[in-house]
Amino acid sequence: MADSGVTDGLCDTDDIERSKTEGKELTKEEKQRLRKEKKHQKKIKEKKDDAASHEDEKKKKKKKEEKPVGAASQPPTQPSQKAPAPAPVPVPASETPALADKPAKSKADLKAERRARQESERASKQGKKGDVGQPVPTSKPKAPPSELQPVVKRLPEHVQVDNPDVLKKLAKKLERQQIPLRSDYGYKVSLFSHLHQYSRKAPLTQQLGIPSTVIHPAIVRLGLQYSQGIVAGSNARSVALLHAFKQVIRDYTTPPNEELSRDLVNKLKPYISFLNQCRPLSASMGNAIKYIKKEISNIPSQCKEEEAKSKLLSCIECYINEKIILAAKAIAKYSIEKISDGDVILVYGCSSLVNHILCEAFEKKRKFRVIVVDSRPRLEGREALRRLVQRGISCTYVLISAVSYILPEVSKVFLGAHALLANGYVMSRVGTSQIALVAKAFNVPVLVCCETYKFCERVQTDSFVSNELDDPDELIVTRKGKTQLEHWQEVPSLGLLNLVYDVTPPDFVDLVITDLGMIPCTSVPVVLRVKNVDQ
């Protein structure tokens, strides 16, 4: 436990120092020296407000910069804190039982408490700059999450493109990590000026020769595959990411005087920034990265390198197996109960999970036929059509504008999801909400299939605040020999909008089939909470 505490402290100083020395490349020795100084200072401060700051840490569990606290003071106050926390009690109330345990708290103690809280908040604000990754949870025993933690969320960079300060910070960070900054392309519709818009024809790798010492070639290849759309779909992207990370771990050697758990996490950060520049990370990828970082930092420092690496590789294998492959099997099992003979099933686009379900149902000799709905400009439905027809399932193919024409024939709609948000909204490929809307109008049941690792803590009510803008040139098409939009850039008042995702409100969705069972859309936050407790 002490080790992990040390790890945490070192992580803190790392970040604090990074934010202070923006743009300057420090040598390793300088970095180490700075780190040691900061650690020393912190240890002195901690000894002063040990007992008082403990309660504050309990409240700020979600923040990255948790201070290592002496373990001895924790156990006595923990049981008292565990009791009120599960019930949704407001924070002041949970404080009172704890305070009641220490009846001898004087005014001086309260003042020290307050001062410590302020200082820790200041330190945490300083150290917050930099990463995309989620806080590294420590291994010290946690109280069950109280729902009323003051969640100070940092807004991700990719939805603040219209803020020049944020862009400058990003540019500096990327420069430090030696990753090229991708520039936006084309006229952006004003409603979406807060999002990036990149061109497919200008992948990141063209701009600079990236030496392999900075970014592992497997990651470069992966980034290119993402930006060109060769690897698409949230499951495929997550699996590809995990395989690439496995390769990175295999090729990794711990430099002298460094700890694997700390150094490997730092090595992954520029890779993640690079992949983010190639294509914004999906919710599933974000969860996978969180998991990997947690596993890496949980490696005890006395573990040998080979052992540690094999442990990590097996962890990743296990994650892929459990969360994706076995989850798909479980979901298929539940879904097949919902498919009856003579059904006409409508699917949209190409969802690997839905395709898997339909193939499994066909293997189990269910009689049904499928209508594949497709939309421009991606036309992913053709891939789904190919896969289903190969198995021998009878399919019909329509474009999304004809959906209200064929819907009277349909008995069920199966949709895949990119992520399930905490307010019950389903984030999926653009057009999904439209299909759900029309299905609702015709009283056709809509079933969404989604693994639990795609559940996300974000909330969103419309498709504008956070989305992805794809290359606008993809909308251009030639019909009857004329390409109307060929010179759209030259016309100042013309814009093309190529959205990638949209959110479906929960009242359009009748059922969500997950590996934990079949739940209504509004139960997503419950599942998230259960998952957090398990972790």
Binding site: S375, G431, R479
Partner: protein, 331 residues
């Protein structure tokens, strides 16, 4: 003798018109757009009235009906042809009645039910011969032609009453009426237009380029994004191929989805349709199994803007009775 020459000339013209119709379906052939088709049809009917041999109103109506059936058979999806034929038939009846001296006002339809179920015999057999009938009919058809020429402008004139500044308006595909409507409003007001491209023909692209050249801020979106952006749209303004007797629409593919999305967000749906698109066909007789067109029920429509003003969908049947005679519903 001028007679046979005129006749052969007439038949030639009719044949060429029929082949034009056959080649072009809904604006893709040489007859671009329904306004053109309506004008051509009416001009041809005027020529038939002028040049064909007939002695009484009944004969004329028979000839028109016969040729009309052939025209409709050439291109069933182009309903304006049938509409114009019915208009001209009504004109003939009216002129005949005027010549005879009786009034036709007693024949007004009171309700949609009577409109659908009336099939009753009229004792007229239109056999009386009136010398002035031909001239009167031709004059009335000329009036009809002038009306047709002014429809788009009449609709566009009403634009400023319905569009205010800084609005976001959505439209789908390509409608010349809606285009003229928006361009007219853009002369005085600044607003933003989102065009759904309407795959697979992607006519929305043409609409977008034309609107942006007129200086309107335009954005092109894929059909799949209609619901996603609908929450920021203030009004939906569309054109249509046909307006049905119950107030519903037969419009381009994807319009039903657009209408449902607008209803969900309580966004008004405004249809710009000139009167010659009104068709007395009712749903059961309309061929909805053609995926090129969508049926949009009248509950999803807020307003019809036509060359004679704005109407609610529930009022359409009344207009129908003013334009067409119930006996002509089945040609």
């Amino acid at each position: 003798m001028p007679g046979p020459d005129r006749e052969t000339d007439l038949t030639e013209r009719i044949e060429s018109f029929l082949s034009d119709l056959k080649r072009g379906g809904s604006g893709t052939g040489p007859l671009r757009g329904s306004a053109e088709t309506a004008r051509e049809t009416t001009a041809l009917l005027r020529r038939i009235t002028a040049q064909a041999r007939w002695s009484s109103a009944g004969d004329l109506m028979e000839i028109i009906r016969k040729e009309g059936r052939r025209m409709i058979a050439a291109q069933p999806s182009e309903t304006t042809v049938g509409n114009m034929i019915r208009r001209v038939l009504k004109i003939v009846r009216e002129e005949y009645a005027r010549s005879r001296g009786s009034s036709e006002e007693t024949d007004q339809q009171e309700s949609l039910h009577k409109l659908l179920t009336s099939g009753g015999l009229s004792e007229e057999n239109f056999r009386q011969h009136f010398t002035a009938l031909k001239a009167n009919v031709i004059e009335a058809i000329n009036e009809l032609l002038t009306e047709l020429e002014g429809t788009t402008d009449n609709i566009a004139m009403q634009a400023l009453e319905h569009i205010h500044s800084n609005e976001v308006i959505m439209t789908i595909g390509r409608s010349r009426t809606a285009e003229a409507f928006l361009k007219d409003a853009a002369r005085k007001r600044k607003f933003h237009v989102i065009v759904a491209e309407c795959a697979p023909f992607c006519q929305g692209h043409e609409m977008a380029t034309s609107l942006s050249k007129a200086g309107i801020e335009t954005t092109v979106i894929a059909d799949a994004a209609i619901f996603a952006v609908m929450s920021r749209v203030n009004k939906v303004i569309i054109g249509t191929q046909t307006v049905l007797a119950n107030g519903g629409l037969r419009a381009v593919n994807g319009t039903h989805t657009l209408a449902l999305a607008a209803k969900h967000h309580s966004t008004p749906l405004i249809v710009c349709a000139p009167m010659f698109k009104l068709s007395p066909q009712i749903l059961s007789k309309v061929n909805v199994h053609c995926p090129v067109f969508d049926y949009v029920p009248p509950e999803l429509i807020t307003l019809f803007i036509s060359n004679i003003g704005g109407h609610a969908p529930s009022y359409i049947y009344r207009l129908m009775s003013e334009l067409y005679h119930p006996e002509d519903h089945e040609l």
